[in-house]
Symmetry: C2
Subunit: 223 residues, 2 copies
């Protein structure tokens, strides 16, 4: 973030609130200072500085001052807002994943019968033997994970190799074409954090959603 943004944030916010981002607001350094719990002098000086920096337009008159935000001033607030929205994703906001190619190994893995019986019991569906890999903004993803209860699927030993435990998070998967219940699966050994989510559902998601690489899929919470 810009150093300026935090130094002048409270004044920018005060103007934006009064003036609704685009209006010109008539006020005075005295009134503004009172609102900001600062002195008239500091407020006056800061406004001059902000004008110099191109954050506001400012005119003085007998009765006080009129101020409006410049595009740059609005931009600082918008930028900060977007940054905060990205950091603080609320539970109800679905997050977007971009389809990427996996190693093709996921299908063999989740296709194992001893996984499938647990999927049926714990998640309510048998999984199509194939996973869809979604690249996700890691910040949003972590936030999303934080709020979900994980369902643990036990690992087991196969004939040739070991199949580790899986953490599952039931989700709604949706794109333009379709919408289906599914689950994130996170092998317990995986080194987190990882920006790829592997998802399963009862259907073949690639054909259900008619997707190619780089398409977008929404991942939403289960009610």
């Amino acid at each position: 973030m810009d150093k300026q943004t935090s130094r002048y944030l409270d004044i920018l916010l005060a103007i934006a609130k009064d003036g609704s981002l685009f209006d010109t607001v008539s006020t005075s350094t005295v009134a503004l200072a009172k609102q900001l719990k600062s002195s008239q002098q500091s407020t006056s000086r800061k406004l001059v500085e902000m004008e110099l920096l191109g954050l506001i337009r400012r005119r003085t008159n007998q009765r006080g001052i009129t101020i409006s935000l410049t595009d740059r001033g609005v931009g600082q607030l918008t930028y900060l807002r977007d940054e905060l929205i990205q950091i603080i994703t609320s539970e109800k906001t679905p997050i977007l994943g971009m389809v990427v190619s996996g190693l093709g190994e996921g299908g063999y893995y989740v296709g194992q019968e001893r996984y499938q019986t647990q999927f049926k019991k714990m998640l309510g569906f048998s999984a199509f033997p194939g996973t869809l890999n979604l690249r996700i903004d890691i910040t949003q993803f972590k936030h999303f994970l934080h709020q979900k209860k994980q369902i643990v699927i036990k690992g087991f030993k196969g004939e040739h190799r070991t199949f580790g435990p899986l953490n599952c998070i039931p989700v709604m998967l949706r794109n333009k074409k379709n919408s289906v219940e599914g689950s994130l699966i996170i092998p317990e050994r995986t080194t987190h954090p990882e920006d790829i989510a592997e998802v399963i559902a009862k259907d073949n998601l690639r054909s259900l959603f008619d997707i190619k690489d780089n398409d977008k899929v929404e991942i939403g919470a289960i009610e």
Copy 2:
């Protein structure tokens, strides 16, 4: 806004970005200072202050420090985010209006034939002779208005009184039951800003939406 919030905002943001709001992040005052374009000393001191204020949890070790945000720290960011969202409503975000009783005069007004012919021509529909009044958050409303082109309906003189010009803004109106194209109508003489929006549509909105006072209606942009 809290004075603390702006003083420590850049550090809070840096931690939240790295640590995804809930994780504990391992870093060092040196690295953090570099990222924040400040000195190691100031960063160290501020972190100590922030711990004292209950904004973060902090542990030092041989290799540096581990930090996580407290609920209070998260709260400061969330509060700021909500404030910014309220100020900066993007064009695509529908705003919510609450149905309130009008004076019942709106219907007589918009029912005038010389208005109706213009509605038909300029808006694409004849209006049901009645308006719905919606109370709206004024900040969001102003922002919404700012981005819309207004359609001007000319005023005229009737037998007994004068009917002034109207500014119209086509919108989508929606609630749980239904969705319909309509228009905000703003008598030109009205003293703005006003937190009540008067809306019309070809249908009787009260019956189409099956609404009573205090129900909510979404007002969205026309594509």
